[in-house]
Symmetry: C3
Subunit: 177 residues, 3 copies
């Protein structure tokens, strides 16, 4: 099985597991899978084929496919930013696939561009620590189902119960004794 | 897409993601989706259309759809309390849909009634703090797969590995140094 | 519904929820489900029907079905060690089902054999505490999506975002004040 076929099998499984479908046009789908595969080879992780990656994991984390924005985008628009993952009604052709807004916050985009610029200008330059250290990780929990995660910010949708971002609160660990 | 259609798409995706089906009768299904939508508008969260909500999030948390009781009910009876989510064999008509016992503990039902009574009698009365503070949250982990959550009590089924409630233990954080 | 039928319904739901299929041969599938059911009765948990269980939960934890090795095996080979869970392309007969390597680490296999030997020789002997206490549990988090779990070692694949084992790091809780 080629690397692109592996990417296809993985995307198909993930789509089924989430109740999604893949892009209905075979040529577009092939392009997206090849883009994922190229990024996997280049960066060591399959970052989004429709966005600029910086090459620094901590900065690209949110756009590694399936990206942080996939589930809220499929819920709101019917498909993700790339239209790799789409909803049943879109798959059945009831809704046309047109460009959707970029949900990734401008601050995260800017950070990625800054790091990408650093790494492109001189492959051996050190990425400024300040750029990478902006990622402070926190414990979060979903007030609806209790799901706990350790991330820079809370997820857009709870992966367990699908509660929205507003349902997450920081989890402070207090110690007795 | 109307709000009820959004509720339908969300329920369809969630059903597929869990290997479930939706109520086979279109009119019953429409009623349930409209009930969810009404609760979403009234309370700000889609609480179960077949149960009385109090309007206080901390008290209604366990009956926000998909409720805490869905997965154990589908596993044991073939469908949830509302029969919104049903199992394949029931969907194929091998098992009739008849009322199932209420799995929600009487203490939680009573708490909801108490809060609902308070809020109905006088919309501006303060809900007694004691009613709301009975929700002490704890960290729990699944002894089978390690899933960690922060909830009032452990889930009925682990959302990751489907282990039963007895497989959960409290997670005490101890600190070194 | 018989116990074996319950095991079948549970396996079918879990397969659908993960985008997997079950063994295509009805007789083989029946054997596997009966094996799971026998282990559930014998040990109190459905340990893998193709591996030796020790009877000590802490030692068998990783081979309770769905075992820790299922998802990486399906991803790499197309089916799990038992071939109970298989990938779509294998289900469609494109790939033959042949034995795959045992992914369970030799140290865990050895521990299981040691405990099994102790319990078989004399049902009432105490299992040496040292054998069981080798299971030190730690908090882990997925650097890609933030999933948190409390286990002996990190999972092979993140159950939420499917990131590989290398994406997990220990989570140290530090306390302020």
């Amino acid at each position: 099985m080629t690397s692109v076929e592996k990417a296809r099998v993985r995307a198909e499984s993930d789509a089924r597991a989430h109740g999604y479908y893949l892009h209905p046009d075979p040529a577009s789908l092939q392009d997206l899978l090849e883009g994922l595969q190229r990024n996997e080879e280049r960066y060591g992780y399959p970052s989004c084929p429709c966005r600029l990656a910086s090459g620094a994991f901590a900065v690209d984390r949110d756009i590694i496919c399936p990206c942080d924005y996939r589930d809220p985008d499929v819920q709101e628009y019917g498909y993700c930013y790339c239209a790799l993952y789409i909803r049943k009604d879109v798959s059945e052709g009831e809704t046309p696939i047109t460009p959707i807004p970029e949900r990734r916050p401008p601050a995260k985009q800017a950070r990625a561009y800054d790091v990408a610029a650093e790494t492109t200008n001189d492959k051996h330059v050190n990425i400024p620590v300040t750029l990478l250290l902006t990622n402070t990780l926190n414990l979060w929990y979903c007030k609806q189902c209790g799901y706990v995660c350790f991330r820079e910010d809370s997820p857009y949708l709870c992966p367990i119960c699908k509660a929205k971002k507003e349902m997450f609160a920081p989890l402070s660990i207090t110690v007795q004794g």
